[in-house]
Amino acid sequence: MSEVIVITSGKGGVGKTTTTANVGAGLAQLNKKVVLIDTDIGLRNLDVVMGLENRIVYNLVDVVEGNCRIKQALIKDKKYPNLCLLPSAQTRDKSSVNPEQMKKLVDELREEYDYILLDCPAGIEQGFQNAIAAADRALVVTTPEVSAIRDADRIIGLLEANEINKTHLLVNRLRMDMVKRGDMMSIEDVHEILAIDLIGAVPDDEQIVISTNQGEPLVGSDSLAGQAYMNICHRLLGEEVPLLDLENKNGVWSKFVGLFKKN
């Protein structure tokens, strides 16, 4: 049984693309056949984050318009042979594709892949409608900021209206030091406001920036964010994994070690 998951947030810049890349790579590490679809037509960047930009020949719009077969447009990942990317078109816009075409495309991919991840554009317009049209379930990404949470709330409402009822929350870029000082909302605060099941929290980790710049997802590495993303993948597969203790590495000991590292 294949599953189609849309990664969405409403607000831009909260980490949809990073999440798609890392969850996709994580599921591939767990021996699932995974395809990532970048639905952000005109502003593609999943290929950049995956480090696959130089391999693009055909794209999503080419497939939909029948300029090529799906197989020709799919790009195999550098590291994981069972992970593929269907890149978005950069020179077109969201109106080049409609929800019915997305459904048809995804249905074709269902036969061969265990997981189909749709990287949704920011906003609630056509791009969003395209991305959610074919989805079985949704990951709503938010950061612990009021604006992101307000948008996430709107998105959850829209997902419900479109009868996507399996919706999970991912709290991204959490800074435990700020939460402790009371300057940032905690996971519990966010969870209480949005009132949907939490699938995981990812700390604000500079390793993410480094991995994005290198074009290699960090999932599965021993960085805190890498572990958090791996846990999320396990939970997507239905396993029970306790929430990662995010404070662990920001404790006194790590700061102490950090001091030495800097010198």
Partner: protein, 224 residues
Amino acid sequence: MSQPVILKSNPHGINLILDKTLPFAELKREILKKFKESDRFFRNAKIGLSFEGRQLTPEEEYDILELISQNTSIEIVCIIDKDELKDAFYAAKIKEFEENRAGKTGEFYKGTLRSGQVVECETSLIVLGDVNPGARIIAKGNIVVLGSLKGNAYAGAAGDETCFVAALDMDPVQIKIGSVIGRSADKGPLLAIKNRKKTMEPQIAVVMEDAILIEPIIKGLFKK
């Protein structure tokens, strides 16, 4: 009025707009003049006629009809009643009925309203769920939220300021009752979240001296 008699066509015939002050005999002359002028245009037409601008007795109406049928080739099929007083009377009755209905009957909405969602209702509204920031509920009657009211609520949307808004957990962005608006205190959004009440306290908002008054619902509140 510059012209004592005006002819105005409508989908069913013509409106005869008459001067209020002119003596009836003179008015009749003016009407005749007007119809004679346009007789060629109306030749053998079958029309409905309605009177405007002046209250006519049945006799006067009859007089005018006689005048037209004797002097022109127009055939008047019927008289369309257009009575502003009656209209206003009916409108007032309908409004009164709707207002009564708004306060006395209600609708239920089950589920949480998220940002961007709007529920509108002709009567009173009871929400079984939360109303999140960015969501709006609008009712012509009262509003009761069996959950947290954290968004916007507008009761008495037809203008009735005796309506109320009640919630098990009252933390709205804005409440409007009739034409009176109350808004939440100015505090940063993070503080609002951090300082939110841990326990629920049912509260009710009413209009008192042109302001929204919110008070806790405690035993004996409604005995006053």
